[in-house]
C-alpha cells in the first residue's frame, strides 16, 4: 500500500494510471459492441457525434466509437505479443550473453548491435510487402518481436554483468547452485523492474510502428487497429472534408496511449531507482 501511495505522489504516475485504466476499459468494452467490426454499412454514413453515435460514424458506415474499442483492443494485442515475445528473446539473449561472456557474448551482442544499426523500418516494409496477405495481429506482433529485442537485451546484459561481480554470485556458485537456478532465483528479482519498464517501452514502440505500417497500407486493413482507423480516415480525406471526429478519434487515442505508457514506465523506473528518486525528492 505504501508503494502505491508513494507512486501516486508522482503526478505522471497518477495521470498515466487513469489514462491506462480508461484505455483498458475501452478495450474490454469491445466485447459488448453491438456491431461486427468487419461489416460495413451497419450505420448511416458520415454522421457527426450525437447521442446515438457517440463519436459519429465514418464513410464505411461504421460506428466510430465501437470501432475504436476494437482498434484499441487489437493495438494492445499486437503490442502485447510483440512486448512479451521480444522480452523472452531479450531476457534469454541478455542473460546468456551477460552470464556466459566470451565468444557467445560477442556473437549475441554483434547481432543485437546490428539490429540497432540497421534501419529496421525498411526491413519491416519489405517483410510486410511479402506477407501482406498473411498479416494478422499475431504475425505482425511476432514480426515486431523478432527485431525489437536488441536494445533491451543490451540493458539486461549489462545488469547481469554487474550482478555477476557481486558477492552472492560467488556464494551461490561455491555452494553448488546450478546456473539456471542462479539466474532465475538470484538475478530475476533484480532485473524484473528493468524488464517491466522495457516491456512498456517496447509496447509503445510496437503500437507506433503498427500505425506507420498501417498508414502505408502494409497491414490487413480489414482488422481495426489504431493504425488502420487512421488509414481509412486519411484515405477518405476526412481532414479535407471536415470530418474531424473520424480522424481525431484514433489520433487522440494514440497520443494518449503513447504518453500514458511513457509516463507510466518513467515514473515506475524512477521510483525503483533510488538515485533518481532522491533527486526528485530533493528537487
Amino acid at each position: 500500500m505504501k508503494v502505491l501511495r508513494d507512486l501516486f505522489r508522482d503526478y505522471r504516475f497518477t495521470v498515466s494510471f487513469v489514462v491506462l485504466v480508461f484505455i483498458v476499459t475501452m478495450a474490454v468494452l469491445s466485447f459488448f459492441s453491438p456491431y461486427d467490426p468487419t461489416l460495413w454499412h451497419v450505420v448511416p454514413r458520415d454522421m457527426p457525434p450525437s447521442s446515438e453515435y457517440v463519436m459519429g460514424t465514418d464513410s464505411n458506415g461504421q460506428d466510430i466509437f465501437w470501432q475504436a474499442t476494437f482498434a484499441v483492443r487489437n493495438s494492445l494485442i499486437i503490442s502485447l505479443i510483440s512486448g512479451i515475445v521480444s522480452r523472452v528473446i531479450a531476457i534469454l539473449v541478455g542473460m546468456i550473453a551477460g552470464y556466459k561472456g566470451g565468444n557467445i557474448d560477442r556473437v549475441l551482442m554483434f547481432i543485437g548491435d546490428s539490429l540497432l544499426v540497421i534501419p529496421l523500418f525498411l526491413i519491416f516494409v519489405m517483410l510486410a510487402m511479402m506477407i501482406r496477405e498473411h498479416m494478422n495481429l499475431v504475425t505482425l506482433g511476432l514480426m515486431l518481436a523478432v527485431f525489437g529485442w536488441a536494445w533491451d537485451a543490451r540493458l539486461i546484459r549489462s545488469m547481469v554483468l554487474s550482478l555477476r561481480e557481486r558477492d552472492f554470485t560467488m556464494t551461490a556458485i561455491l555452494s553448488g547452485t546450478g546456473t539456471l537456478k542462479l539466474v532465475i532465483r538470484e538475478y530475476m528479482p533484480f532485473t524484473t523492474p528493468l524488464i517491466f519498464s522495457t516491456l512498456i517501452n517496447n509496447m509503445s514502440w510496437a503500437i507506433g510502428l503498427e500505425i506507420t505500417l498501417a498508414i502505408l497500407g502494409l497491414v490487413n486493413l480489414n482488422i481495426p487497429t489504431l493504425g488502420t482507423m487512421l488509414n481509412w480516415a486519411l484515405f477518405y480525406q476526412s481532414i479535407l472534408l471536415g470530418r474531424w471526429w473520424w480522424i481525431l478519434t484514433p489520433v487522440i487515442l494514440s497520443l494518449l496511449v503513447f504518453i500514458a505508457l511513457y509516463w507510466f514506465s518513467v515514473s515506475i523506473s524512477e521510483y525503483l531507482d533510488p538515485r533518481t528518486r532522491i533527486q526528485r525528492v530533493g528537487a
Partner: protein, 335 residues
C-alpha cells in the same frame, strides 16, 4: 599502434560484418517468406488489366525470375546477389521501367541527405546545449518547464509532429510551403534564390524532425550533465574556485558530450526512419517519397535498393562518427 589495433581494426571489422548481416537479411526476406515475388508481380500486372499473350506472360515471368536472382540454388543466388551489389547495380525499377534503381535513388538521395544533415545538426546542437544548461541549473523554473515539455514530446512518434505542423501551416497560418522540395518549375542551380527556395521548402519537414530529436537530446543531455556534475573532477574544480563558465563549458558540457557522440551514432537508424516518414507526410522528394511510391506500386526491387543503400549509408555514417570519437576523448587516443 595499439590505437590501430585496439580501436580502428575492430571497428572496421564490425562495419563490414554489419553490412554483410544486414544485406543477407535483405536477401533472405523474399526467400523465407511464403510469397513468390514474381507471381505477386504478375498478379498485380494482371489486376491492372494488362492483356498479354500467354507466351508473353511466360517470358515476363522468366525475365522477372532472372532479375530477382531467383534462379539456381540458394547458394548460387546468394553469389549472384553479391556479384551484382559489388558492381553497384540494383537492377531496374518495375513500375518506372526502364528507369534503373540506381538512377532513381541518385535523384532522391541528395534531398534526404540534406534534410537529415540539417535537422540532425540542429537538433543535436540545440538539444545538447539547452539540455546541458537545464541539467546544470536543475532548480531553475525554465529548466523544469522544458523538462515537462520534453516529457510530453518524447514518447510521440515523428509523424505526429509532421501532421501537427502540416495542419497548423496548412489551415491556420500559411508561412511555409507544406509540400514539395522546391517551387514548381524552379531550376536547380547554385544561385542564392534557388537555395533559399529549397531551404524554405525544407523548413517544415526539418522542424518536425528537430522537435522530437531536440527533445530526446535535451532529456539525455540533462541526465548526463546531472551525473557529470557529481563527478570528482567537477567537485574538485568547484573547490579550486574555478570560474563557473569554465566549469560548465570545459568540465561538464565537454565530458557529458562524449556519450552523446556515441548516442548520435546509435540513433542514426531511427532518425533515418523518422525522416522517411516525414518526407511522405510533406511530399518531400527524397528517399521517403521514392519508398512510398515503391510501396504503393509494389516495386519490390526499388524497395530493396533503398534498403540496401540505407544500410550501407547508415553504417558508414556511424563508422565515420566512431572514427572521429578519439579526437574528443584522449583516453581512447592514448591507451
Amino acid at each position: 599502434m595499439t590505437f590501430v589495433k585496439r580501436y580502428l581494426i575492430p571497428r572496421l571489422i564490425q562495419y563490414f560484418l554489419v553490412i554483410w548481416l544486414g544485406i543477407t537479411v535483405v536477401f533472405l526476406i523474399p526467400r523465407l517468406t511464403p510469397s513468390d515475388p514474381v507471381m505477386k508481380m504478375v498478379d498485380q500486372m494482371r489486376a491492372r488489366g494488362s492483356t498479354l499473350e500467354p507466351g508473353a506472360m511466360d517470358d515476363i515471368i522468366e525475365d522477372l525470375t532472372q532479375m530477382y536472382g531467383l534462379e539456381g540454388s540458394w547458394l548460387e543466388q546468394y553469389g549472384d546477389f553479391w556479384a551484382r551489389l559489388v558492381q553497384g547495380d540494383f537492377g531496374v525499377s518495375f513500375f518506372q521501367f526502364p528507369a534503373r534503381v540506381n538512377d532513381l535513388i541518385a535523384v532522391a538521395l541528395p534531398w534526404t541527405l540534406g534534410l537529415l544533415l540539417m535537422s540532425t545538426a540542429i537538433s543535436w546542437t540545440v538539444g545538447n546545449i539547452v539540455g546541458g544548461l537545464a541539467g546544470y541549473y536543475t532548480r531553475r523554473r525554465w529548466s523544469r518547464v522544458l523538462d515537462s515539455v520534453a516529457m510530453v514530446v518524447r514518447p510521440l512518434p515523428y509523424y505526429v509532429f509532421a501532421f501537427i505542423l502540416l495542419l497548423l501551416f496548412a489551415y491556420v497560418v500559411r508561412w511555409f510551403p507544406i509540400t514539395g522540395g522546391a517551387s514548381l518549375g524552379a531550376i536547380p542551380t547554385f544561385t542564392w534564390d534557388y537555395i533559399k527556395d529549397v531551404l524554405w521548402h525544407s523548413a517544415l519537414p526539418a522542424l518536425s524532425l528537430v522537435i522530437l530529436g531536440g527533445a530526446i537530446n535535451f532529456q539525455v543531455m540533462k541526465l548526463l550533465v546531472q551525473n557529470v556534475n557529481a563527478e570528482s573532477y567537477v567537485q574538485y574544480a568547484k573547490l579550486g574556485g574555478v570560474t563557473e563558465n569554465r566549469i560548465v563549458g570545459k568540465y561538464i558540457i565537454r565530458n557529458a558530450m562524449l556519450p552523446q557522440i556515441t548516442g548520435l551514432a546509435l540513433s542514426f537508424g531511427q532518425i533515418f526512419s523518422g525522416a522517411i516518414i516525414t518526407e511522405i507526410v510533406f511530399g518531400y522528394p527524397g528517399l521517403g517519397m521514392l519508398l512510398f511510391r515503391a510501396i504503393t506500386n509494389g516495386d519490390y526491387n526499388l524497395i530493396m535498393g533503398i534498403t540496401i543503400l540505407s544500410i550501407i549509408g547508415i553504417t558508414t555514417a556511424i563508422l565515420i562518427l566512431d572514427l572521429t570519437y578519439p579526437l574528443f576523448d584522449p583516453r581512447v587516443r592514448y591507451t
